[in-house]
Assembly symmetry: C2
Homo-oligomer: 677 residues x 2
């Protein structure tokens, strides 16, 4: 393979590895481990140190580019022969090893799909599993679908690399490959040692309801002749399997037409749209990342990402208390990213970005359409009617949507960044897909969940996200201010008790904070070195947080220790290179969060007027509705970043006012309906 | 005028008064007050008692309609000769007075625009006002624009009918009628007695900043030669007045095309769309109201409305501490409704509804387009990818939007009800328009607000809404359950401390409750008489609340007493006919909320399995950004109502899966951009 010297002139230092770079990295990695069998977990571009990047970016934006830092591939892999995991950093230009690090005992790299698929097959051939299936009245494995799950740790002792299997079945009446397996959960969990390729044990799940013993396990609902599968029934979302449910015929087409094309321009991974200028990044762990986000030539955010998500379940009955996924750290948003389809996932005029992924065998996939980008009309941006003249001025809100969709076994997440013309950025998360289910005996109910289909319980759970905001508000020295609405004292100035104001408290040391809606608390990121000439206050952006419930698991529990980030809504830390993951570096089978936000604040660093990172933890506490089955209509979370004293007026004042000539709406004909109102 | 007997067959009993009915009512009202000069405040249809309506609706939906209740006009007006206000109910069929009621002493009907306009002229001719203008260095009234404001009460004593004027100016350099007057606030407030047509006094506003005395009033910024107007500068939102700001030229057209027309059908005020069936109502006080909302033939909500909004300001310095508007009770959302314009306020295929309004002189206006209705693509409704086969199933979310836009002097509110195909209802509120401003001396800052333009302070304030939800979840006997996520005790069943569940507490007596995000609190409205056959729980809907800060004004303050509804997030009351307004019946100059939610809960009625009303109070606490000037980009609030155990599966499973043939998206040509990523 030839050295990729020329390409580095075209590749931006924040770009993902090209397919060629991935191949080179794999080849160098293999050279480094000749004669060994490797199981590659991920290969990705190592982000250059921020100090180097900021200098590079300054030169780049000034139009006098300097030499880029070398391209470095970061590899995570098992040396299977040694049952040993390693990280390796490779300089792709001089082809030298930069650094090599072994995983600590008890620390496990993420799962991957081929790994799970391989043992899924092995599990189905285990006699003990066949025996367990028989106990449930299931004869043969034709329809059985074991979902490999991360083994949510409940012990502080180092454990071997384990995968647990949640057992499901396709509808035995149809055997259809698209049958919804989550309508047929089976009450046992094989636990498998991945590196030793051996079944460790089978855990049986309680099948009783409220008041029943946790040891209440009915293999056959008390009737040895009966299969428990007979207690369940199909719950299909695949329309071809729903002869009972004709599709609606009264939904008329709705097309978005952009006769002159989209308003954005693209150069490599650089996107320019409505004064925004940003870099679309992608990596195996976080998936979509926004880099070097600027508005009208001014820096706003150096890097924006979803850094982690944990999904702990609320049913404490073993073994399902171990259901606690870290969907980014345990799996990877990049690996979980869907190939998006025109007209399905995205409406309008779409630009797609592909993602380069290295698989366990070293093969490189340029996955199509992992990110889609398009514009959307989002209603009214602003309006005012002068009541004296009745003259109105209205501008419509156009947004630029950057969307990626993850599938993590049963669940789907839609992450979308929205940019608008008033310099607002929003992260919109939609949770959809299929709720995780378990078997429950007929006629029983459980406080830990909702019966979503006969004998199928969907238990309560949380989706707790860590959003990582690396700000660059007119530069890298920023400060976080906590803003609370505070009542004035009752005194001569405030005799009627109506006075209140917005009190600012600056965060001096790295620390964690909670939301407080009672005082309308919000977080501002400001640059104290840059004063707005009109407001006379520092320029800044406001975080419109999502003030949700935090992690439920008890203080001191392993479930909580693993996800310290989910204990508080806001974490303010000093920037450190490679500190990207709110929930820690290695989450799979972790017993405590390491290298996450808790460790970062424990450094007790100065964060006032420093290069800082703001992390926002938020989520959904989901007590499933039956309406979430067989597939869940979206639940939506929106977090916003809004300029606050950054400009000297509404930055969207130059958006052309809306008019019919431009927007071409259509009035429903009066003849088509009476119009009595 | 002929009796309108035939029309009642076509008019739905929940419809607004027709133009003819309005005219008849005015004529009957005049007959009742021969020889007197009336100033009409409002004339609207009196909603029939619920007992009668439910019977009528049952028969109507069963296809065997019974005789409708008589049409009754409800009139509010002044008898100017007597300085006396009255309410009158008129049966439009037998033309008889049903009831007549005098306003209590100290109770005032709402303001109206002609009333304010009339005295605006008078104020401008008051010598004392001209003198005050001169003190400010303003010579003549050519550019002066006094905004008539409700006199936010600070006394428990009955007061005459007062209007206060916030004084502003058009840009004296352009005199343009569309000049933004809020960029030129003047520091005095004339107070006017409306019924006596006399200036009561002129209040001067503090012009100092933090640390200055409240009596610090600089008429001329210390320079008798100088006009304070010179300290300010134009802040125009009307683009023709912004030669400094060329419009963006890179925004490409974005058209919504529905080649087969919209998916809704309309019959009078009845709308049917995607299994929804509802009645679009309109009245002078609440504006848009949804009636008799059904999904797939089942009752969900009897009536949905925004019942009140109060806007208290945080600067306690007199006289501006009196800025506390009740935008519905003091003005009326119907009277404030904009005539919406195609291609500006609404995009796509639009159906408009008109609103009939009676003005103070008895003239009847059929205001065009006060409500617009259209469909919108709202992204993905649900998606699941089967990771074993890589087959995805995705449905897009189509919503039906019913939108109305209010202008209340400087501010705009956009109220939009969104219905979707999964039986969700959302109320989306956008706040836009222009922030209320006041003068501040050059170089000063104030903790009570933000300098948004030189010498212009936009003070902190709140927008506190009362959403009224009259549920009919499969019938009128409903119960409110408070759902909190509760930790299990650490015991043998929960040894790892991970257990939690959704605890339901039924509300037995009319009462108020607060949001509590720490326990993920949500409110369910259930029908205990109807058990879901799968979940075995009562059918219900969930309220996804907006858990915002409540009213800041101190306990015991008049500002707080006037807006008891804003003290708590949730109010559960027993339904009582004509109890429509969360903030009380007469808010203008009120010193305490009367007939609102506090009075309703004080009745301490049984609300379990009864005909109940749920009121949700929420809002924005707005510390203005300079980016909110000269016109504010939207701030958005969304409140949702979601089926929860109402169906036996996701009700949108019959929505056709999305495909390119139907949606006709366009991929950006690879040739138009490099596609390196």
């Amino acid at each position: 393979m030839e050295k990729q010297t020329t390409s580095s002139l075209e590749i931006h230092p924040l770009d993902q590895l090209t397919v060629e770079e991935c191949k080179l990295a794999v080849s160098l990695l293999r050279d480094e481990h000749k004669g060994k069998t490797l199981h590659i977990k991920s290969v990705q571009a190592q982000e250059p140190p921020k100090k180097i990047m900021t200098k590079w970016l300054d030169a780049y934006h000034a139009g006098s580019p300097i030499a880029p830092p070398p391209r470095v591939a970061y590899c995570v892999y098992y040396i299977l022969d040694d049952r040993h995991a390693e990280e390796l950093w490779l300089n792709l230009e001089n082809r030298k090893v930069v650094q090599r690090r072994s995983f600590e005992n008890g620390t496990h790299p993420p799962m991957d799909q081929p790994e799970s698929d391989k043992i899924e097959e092995l599990v189905l051939n285990e006699p003990a599993v066949l025996e367990a299936l028989k106990k449930c009245g299931v004869d043969g494995i034709q329809d059985v679908a074991p979902d490999g799950w991360m083994y949510g740790c409940d012990s502080n002792e180092p454990l071997p690399r384990l995968v647990m299997f949640l057992m499901y079945m396709r509808d035995p009446k149809t055997h259809h490959p698209e049958s919804n397996i989550y309508a047929f959960p089976l009450p046992f969990v094989p636990v498998y040692d991945v590196l030793e390729n051996k079944l460790v044990r089978i855990d049986w799940c309680a099948t009783g309801g409220d008041g029943d013993d946790v040891n209440e396990i009915n293999y056959n609902s008390g009737n040895p002749e009966k299969s428990i599968v007979d207690n369940m029934r199909a719950g299909e979302y695949y329309h071809e399997l729903r002869p009972d449910l004709p599709l609606r015929e009264d939904l008329k087409p709705y097309n978005v037409v952009q006769p002159e094309g989209p308003s954005f321009s693209i150069e490599g991974t650089r996107v320019r749209w409505q004064k925004w200028d940003l870099r679309v990044g992608f990596n195996p762990r976080e998936g979509l990342v926004l880099h070097d986000v600027r508005y009208d030539g001014r820096q706003t955010f150096y890097r924006l990402s979803v850094s982690e998500m944990t999904v702990p379940y609320g049913d404490p009955r073993p073994p399902l208390h171990r259901k606690q996924a870290f969907d980014l750290g345990d799996i990877g948003a990049g690996y979980a990213a869907n190939s998006l389809a025109l007209g399905c996932d995205c409406l309008g005029t779409i630009k797609y970005f592909d993602g380069n992924l290295v698989h366990c065998d070293g093969s490189v996939e340029a996955r199509k359409n992992v990110v889609c980008m398009h514009e959307q009309d989002e209603g009214i941006l602003y309006k005012h009617t002068n009541y004296r003249t009745n003259v109105a001025r209205v501008a419509r809100r156009r947004i630029l949507v950057l969307q990626t969709i993850l599938t993590v076994a049963n669940y789907e997440y839609i992450f979308a960044w929205h940019l608008d013309q008033a310099a607002n950025i929003e992260l919109e998360i939609r949770a959809t897909g299929i709720v995780s289910t378990q078997y429950i005996d007929p006629g029983k109910k459980s406080k830990w969940g909702t019966i979503v289909s006969p004998s199928v319980l969907a238990s309560s759970h949380q989706h707790l996200f860590s959003m990582r905001i690396d700000p660059a508000i007119d530069g890298h020295k920023n400060t976080v201010a906590v803003c609370d609405s505070v009542l004035d004292p009752l005194d001569a100035i405030n005799p009627h008790g109506t006075g209140f104001y917005n009190k600012h408290t600056y965060v001096e040391k790295s620390s964690a904070l909670d939301a407080d809606q009672s005082v309308n608390r919000f977080i501002k990121i400001i640059n104290e070195n840059k004063i707005n000439p009109i407001t006379m206050d520092p320029v800044g952006f406001k975080l419109s947080a999502y003030p949700s419930a935090l992690i439920m698991a008890r203080e001191g529990s392993i479930a909580r220790n693993r996800a310290q980030f989910a204990k508080h809504h806001f974490w303010i830390t000093k920037h450190t290179d490679d500190e990207f993951f709110g929930g820690g570096v290695w989450t799979n089978q972790s017993s405590v969060e390491r290298g996450g936000v808790q460790d970062a604040i424990d450094r007790k660093e100065d964060v006032r007027n420093e290069d800082i990172v703001l992390w926002h933890s938020f989520g959904l506490t989901h007590h499933p509705r039956i309406e979430d089955f067989p597939v869940m209509p979206l639940e939506k979370i929106t977090v916003g970043l809004h300029p606050y004293g950054f400009f000297t007026e509404n930055p969207a004042m130059d958006v052309p006012p809306s008019n019919q000539q431009f927007n071409r709406s259509v009035e429903v004909m009066k003849t088509r309906c009476c119009n009595k109102m």
